[in-house]
Symmetry: C2
Subunit: 334 residues, 2 copies
């Protein structure tokens, strides 16, 4: 098995050196990390400040990537390239010019909304799904296209996915979600997996979906096996094509219940609208993927399943790098 560049297109752990060492041991060449979900613009600047310190203190392990060339260079040095992303548009504060400002600061991937309705789009938790909004939503999609920000639809609603795929002039991403036709609608977080129609339209437009070992989105939940994860990967390749399938593990660790409450309700709710299991608030990861250090054994299983080396290279990183190359630069520039 040759050494492929591995891209994990979403992790959201509390960032520490221990995590960066796991990336090194797992030979993960690039990780898309979340730096804002409900944080305001000002608060997001402080998160960026903390990452600046982390880059300085862990220069032997990580560096910020602004381009595909950066990713290739950093990973070739045996380090992990970090790509900044938002899982929400809260930090843009309805100011269209902040898209460019945060792009200048290195942000390359932005999810339109996180679960709920905002000015731009409906999230996957909304009972009434209005899709991409008429004025604010379309305007921000155009702006992200122009500035060079890859649009992420992972936590968006069905209509938001379909309408954004249609409206966007550049291909888009679903960085971390599984196919509902494979996993079934009885999974714990059953509003998160994507319909086959969304996945097919995504592929037709040149986009990529990142599959995740997050047990609340896996067929069989906590008892899901590595073989089942491999089967889901092969099913998705068969359904939408090998050019459009990759990984976004959604891996996170290092938090207590307060972070789960923050993700669920931000500041907009006095309590989480979906139940939190206070006995086990933070998700358990399957024994075959208890950290990104487990990537090599996932890769072995994929290889054993009959995927040839070229296709393996695509789904491990090649597809993301192709999409990043198509979306990270401004329309008027290189």
């Amino acid at each position: 098995m040759s050494e492929h560049l591995v891209v994990d297109c979403l992790e959201y752990s509390a960032p520490t050196r221990e995590r960066f060492l796991e990336w090194q041991r797992g030979r993960v060449g690039c990780v898309h990390v979340t730096i804002s979900v409900w944080e305001t613009a000002r608060e997001t600047l402080s998160v960026l400040g903390k990452w600046n310190d982390l880059f300085a203190e862990n220069a032997d392990l990580i560096d910020l990537a602004r381009t595909v060339d950066d990713i290739r260079r950093i990973s070739s040095e045996g380090r992990t390239a970090v790509v900044f992303g938002f899982q929400n548009t809260t930090a843009l504060e309805d100011d269209i010019r902040l898209v460019q400002v945060f792009h200048d600061l290195g942000v390359r991937i932005i999810q339109l909304t996180y679960n709920t309705q905002n000015s731009i789009a409906a999230g996957c938790w909304e009972d009434d799904d209005s899709g991409l909004s008429t004025h604010v939503g379309r305007g921000f999609v155009r702006e992200m296209n122009d500035v060079g920000v890859l649009i992420d639809l992972s936590h968006c609603s069905e209509r938001t996915c379909l309408e954004t795929i249609e409206y966007s002039e550049r291909p888009v991403a679903i960085t971390h979600a599984n196919p509902i036709e494979f996993v079934g609608s009885d999974v714990e977080l059953n509003r998160r997996p994507k319909s086959t129609e969304v996945l097919k339209r995504l592929a037709e437009s040149g986009g990529v979906v990142g599959l995740s070992p997050y047990v609340r989105m896996l067929k069989g939940g906590k008892s899901a096996t590595l073989q089942s994860f491999v089967d889901m990967t092969l099913w998705t390749i068969d359904t939408i094509g090998v050019d459009h399938v990759a990984f976004g593990t959604d891996f996170y660790t290092g938090y207590d219940v307060s972070m789960v409450e923050w993700w669920r309700a931000g500041r907009w709710g006095r309590r989480s609208p979906v139940p939190i299991d206070y006995d086990a608030p933070v998700v358990e990861w399957p024994d075959w993927f208890d950290s990104p250090e487990a990537f090599p054994q996932v890769i072995s299983a994929l290889s054993d399943s009959g995927l040839d080396d070229a296709r393996l290279g695509q789904i491990l990183g090649g597809n993301w790098l192709r999409l990043f190359g198509q979306t990270f630069s401004p329309t008027n520039g290189s």
Copy 2:
């Protein structure tokens, strides 16, 4: 004609002593002014700071009202009571606890959204009308009910109006909009007037609508007469009952085109999504209502139309004061 307490339940002029003198000359006892539309929380604090200066400098003409008793006292002194309101929820920054914070600062009326989609609700400009949002929207309506903030639906969509009237435990307001059945859908701003169904449901729930002489929402537009305005008032009384009709002129002056651009597109758009007439960007007011100084002649015309003194008192201010009394105080308090 006895002297009724006149409440103008929306004005949005640049605040200066000249405006306050017009209120005095027009014998306007109370005005609901807008202190935030697209302003952030921080920016709205500065607007409040400017109003503090205005209250100090014009103590002979105006004072802040936090309760109906304040309104009665201030107006009985020959001054004008100012009620603070937001025409949008931008300043709440998706932080549910800011409802109480701004109530503590005197804000008593908040519109859920201004024309477009936000996290709480769909505005009247949206092509896809999702109404009140499942989680954020319902949560903020409950919070405004609990804290003691009157909900305003003037620039909201049809479904947002219907769902909020249904969901809110307290009656709500449409502070400034006209009935589309009377004015016709060929008015310039044809997404702003309200359907008869919305107005009837509003009345059934105890709410009040404020009619406006804003020419872009009047039958006949710029050529609308005072008699036509009186006819609209009588038509609305006949349709939903005298307990639910009042005035909210939407009067504004003192701005140039940059303010119109701000209202239309805030910071979310690079340009206004609806055309601005750059030859005449700021609306002209009809000659029979070129400022709030004209209230006495409007009152005379209403009186001449056969409205008796009791009903006149209701529509000039009594209905608003009744609604304010039902909504300005917290659920757990007085």
